[in-house]
């Protein structure tokens, strides 16, 4: 179906997917940028967000409560994870950090599987965003359009936290030079904890707002994690604007390629990543120095 109408429709799909990837990736990237830890459990946190929302929804039947509850719960999971385990790994090699977060990711997935089973779960969308919205060239599920707005708001909030608050200053300074921040007498570890919480929450929030369009399964986070890596590599590790740009690029590539043949959409995504790596090894908006 190669025509302009379909192109426009797929571009809308790409925007929805891209916005979601941008939000998840920004969580991963600020954690890495500030703490120097690559969190391989990030995909699992995304998944937990969905399930936490599912549980809250089950009790309250309220979409808003599910989103708030799900996001806060994942933030809590993130903070506990940082306090109990991750903080002991700041001084250890990257490889150990990767291994332990990878292991934690598996534990999270299996805990969810243990309690909820493998059958998929569904969270309905909010009543004010059900139905169909005509876009002129096609009709589109209202909730998916709302999703773009919701994620955009979340990204704006994250932007304000990062660029307009004292915490954000420290975080961004930490991305530039973590030793300097420590030298300034700021309690770096407190900041680390908060950043880990916020980064996790971004994933969890994405997980719950995305739940009404997909169905929840315990291993849904794995594919997202891999795509998040690609987004971060394209955008530049540690760069918040890079995560947003990378997310949108990834979403559009996946969607627009599927206009030609969905079987190639992920292949194209990874090809793009390879090209970026060859031409700009530190990503589109990344800077050299951090490995």
């Amino acid at each position: 179906m190669i025509n302009w109408v379909n192109f426009a429709s797929q571009a809308v799909n790409g925007l929805v997917l891209g916005a979601l990837l941008a939000l998840i990736s920004s969580g991963l990237t600020i954690i890495y940028g500030t703490l120097g830890v690559l969190n391989l459990a990030h995909g699992a946190l995304f998944m937990i967000g969905g399930y936490a929302g599912y549980v809250v929804y089950g009790f309250t039947e309220s979409y808003v409560a599910a989103v708030v509850g799900g996001a806060l719960f994942v933030m809590l999971v993130g903070i506990v994870m940082e306090r109990v385990i991750i903080r002991y790994f700041y001084a250890r090699p990257h490889e150990d950090q990767i291994l332990v977060t990878f292991g934690l990711g598996i534990v999270f997935v299996e805990v969810i599987r243990f309690f909820f089973g493998s059958l998929s779960k569904v969270v309905p969308g909010p009543s004010w965003a059900t139905g169909i919205t005509p876009l002129g060239f096609m009709v589109y599920p209202t909730y998916r359009l709302a999703l773009v707005a919701i994620v955009a708001v979340a990204l704006v909030v994250l932007f304000f936290v990062l660029y307009r608050t004292r915490l954000g200053m420290i975080v961004r300074a930490g991305i530039e030079d973590s030793t300097m921040v420590g030298a300034l007498g700021i309690n770096v570890y407190r900041v680390f904890m908060v950043v880990f919480g916020i980064g996790s929450m971004a994933a969890g929030f994405a997980g719950i707002v995305n739940a009404p369009v997909v169905s929840l399964t315990p291993d849904m986070g794995e594919a997202i994690l891999v795509q998040t890596f690609v987004v971060v590599v394209i955008g530049g590790v540690g760069s918040f604007p890079g995560a947003i740009l990378g997310g949108l690029i990834a979403g559009e590539i996946i969607s627009i390629t599927s206009m030609f043949d969905p079987g190639y959409s992920y292949v194209m995504l990874f090809v793009t990543m390879t090209v970026v790596l060859v031409l700009r090894p530190y990503g589109l908006l990344g800077t050299a120095g951090r490995e």
Partner: protein, 609 residues
């Protein structure tokens, strides 16, 4: 020690493999599980060379496991190729080639970037296997009907079609894989890989082509993965598309980490524990899907507390049991080392390269400028050193001495200017190539291979001199490299570390580490040796000894020394260059420098750090 009993490990491996099918069933292992352990174990040998020995954590090994497996399975099923073993080898080669291509991209970056890129690239293979290549690979179907191996010996046909005969088939390949891996890790290449894991920067600085060696390790790991993938297909008569999943890569990493990396046997032990527990938890305890939860927790706990895995833990326990007495003896040796050794103080002569001359300027830098953003670190430095000279470089902190040295050794490219070494323009060359030409430095902050012994450290440096920057002698016994041991011994002797040869660097005293730092530079037989603050942090006595050492090294060699200890420098150097604010302030003999008013104002009279 490793060489004291040749083939001990190999023999034990063979004995273990023969005993396993007799012993393991009594421990609750079923034959099928044992076979799977071998496939994972073989897959893991390659991964261990990559991760355990070279320090490259790849989460994308599934790509090669799948590639090798599917190429072999395709040949044996769809293409109707009758020779199982040949098909396996073709699969292995295919995986190696793919590994080489992937390595070219993935190894552009290190650390977490490398990990992420390997994940992503492996995912490409997964998607390619599924859609574009589905007609060849069967897509979701996989390739069923992989035949069991059989050999027509003329008088009889040997068929490997039962659990035990398949075991024999797999065990043979595991054994062979282990023998090859042992050869590799004991070869010069293996020594260099271990050095890269410890300190890639220094490995490059002593003249090894780090990227090429990493790529080598990557290809080796891919080849092992490919062969193991083929065996999986043969073992279960079916090549599953799951071979390409992230799960496969992740399971491999976990098994290796559980068993212990850097041991070659770790992945086998990890796989045994993994598969056994998965059987046990599912069947005996009837945990159903929760088995993976238990294993996940076990894994996390192991990473937190036993970071060298089960084998590493056992080794640590043994070391602990034997350690107490030995440690005391070690510390006693610390201070004594330097004086007790007597004998010829001759360094190995500088390695003579074709282009070498013996008179005139050895190094000429003109207009050397380095700019970091808005900061001008070095500005228009002109600098010439003649053959046989011993030059000192001084300057206050922030004068740009280290940046200057970094440019001279090609660690950082200059913003402007030109460096000519032995008549050859080396501007923009890599630090490795510069070192191979005979130009290297010792670092201000120790850059040693801390997890290796002193001898191993020195061997790494000397290998770069003896073998050049890259060579694929993966099966060579280092003892057979002509002059290697001699040069290692002599250099160790020169820096007075002979008695500490088998000590791990992390256990050395500070002064010893400084001497080794110089020794590493010396081990590459440089014709021009740069020493960046060799006396930094030393006690007065150590300084005297080290100056003596430097004098002995200087015979027949050109040297440039940076230091703050001006007394020592004035005693050592024939000429001194004074840097200030990134520029050459003055140059002359020690006497001239001492007398120079500008120097006195800027440096001698000024703030001495």
């Amino acid at each position: 020690m490793r060489y004291a009993r040749p083939y001990l490990v190999e023999t034990l491996t063979a004995v273990g493999l023969i005993a396993a099918p007799l012993v393991l069933p009594h421990l609750g292992f079923v034959p099928n599980t044992i076979n799977r352990i071998l496939v994972w174990g073989l897959f893991g040998i390659g991964f261990d060379i990559l991760f355990g020995f070279t320090g490259l954590l790849s989460f994308g090994q599934a790509a090669f496991f799948g590639t090798g497996g599917f190429v072999a399975a395709y040949l044996m099923t769809t293409a109707g190729f009758p020779h199982v073993v040949t098909a396996l080898f073709i699969g292995m080669i295919a995986a190696g080639v793919v590994g080489w291509l992937v390595g070219l991209i993935a190894l552009r970056r290190t650390g977490i970037y490398f990990a992420m890129i390997t994940v992503a690239i492996a995912e490409v293979f997964f998607f390619v296997e599924f859609s574009p290549l589905a007609s060849v690979t069967g897509g979701e179907n996989g390739l069923p009907g992989v035949p069991t191996p059989s050999f027509d010996l003329g008088f009889t046909v040997v068929k490997f079609n039962t659990d035990y005969s398949i075991y024999a088939f797999l065990a043979f390949w595991y054994f062979l894989g282990m023998v090859v891996a042992l050869r590799i890790v004991r070869s010069p290449v293996g020594a260099i890989l271990a050095a890269i894991r410890d300190n890639p920067l220094r490995a490059a600085a002593v003249g090894h082509n780090v990227h090429a060696y990493k790529l080598t390790a990557f290809v080796i790991a891919a080849a092992y993965a490919g062969f193991a993938g083929g065996l999986l297909g043969v073992m279960q008569g079916f090549m599953p598309p799951d071979a390409f999943t992230f799960d496969t890569s992740g399971q491999l990493v976990m098994q290796a980490a559980i068993g212990g990396t850097g041991t070659l046997f770790g992945p086998l032990v990890g796989a045994a524990l993994w598969l056994y527990l998965s059987d046990f938890l599912q069947k005996a305890l009837d945990l159903g899907a929760a088995w993976k939860l238990v294993l996940g927790v076990v894994f996390v706990v192991l990473v937190i507390f036993l970071r060298r895995g089960i084998i590493g833990g056992i080794a640590d326990l043994r070391a602990l049991a034997r350690g107490a007495g030995k440690a005391a003896a070690d510390t006693a040796a610390d201070g004594a080392g330097f004086h007790e050794e007597v004998g010829a103080d001759e360094a190995m002569p500088a390695h003579h390269r074709a282009s070498d001359r013996t008179t005139g300027p050895i190094l000429e830098a003109t207009g050397l400028t380095k700019r970091y953003g808005g900061l001008l670190a070095n500005n228009d430095i002109n600098f010439t050193v003649n053959h046989g000279e011993l030059r000192g470089v001084i300057g206050p902190n922030g004068a740009g001495k280290s940046t200057f040295f970094k440019m001279l050794t090609c660690e950082v490219p200059p913003t402007a200017g030109r460096i000519v070494f032995e008549g050859q323009d080396i501007t923009g060359m890599s630090v490795t190539d510069a070192c191979q030409l005979g130009l290297t430095k010792s670092y201000q902050v120790n850059q040693l291979f801390t997890h290796l012994t002193v001898r191993e450290n020195m061997t790494v440096a000397v290998l770069a001199d003896r073998r050049g920057k890259f060579r694929l002698d993966m099966f060579r016994d280092p003892a057979r490299i002509e002059g290697l041991n001699e040069q290692v011994d002599r250099t160790l002797h020169l820096v007075r570390l002979t008695r500490r040869a088998d000590t791990k660097v992390s256990d050395l005293a500070y002064g010893e580490k400084r001497r080794l730092e110089i020794g590493l530079a010396l081990g590459t037989s440089p014709s021009l040796l740069l020493l960046d603050e060799p006396l930094a942090g030393m006690s007065p006595q150590e300084r005297i000894d080290t100056v003596k050492l430097l004098k002995s090294i200087a015979r027949g060699r050109t040297m440039i020394v940076i230091d703050h200890d001006m007394e020592a420098l004035f005693e050592l150097a024939e000429r001194i260059t004074v840097l200030q604010e990134g520029q050459v302030l003055v140059e002359g003999t020690p006497e001239e420098i001492k007398a120079n008013p500008a120097v006195q104002e800027a440096y001698l009279g000024g703030v001495l750090e």
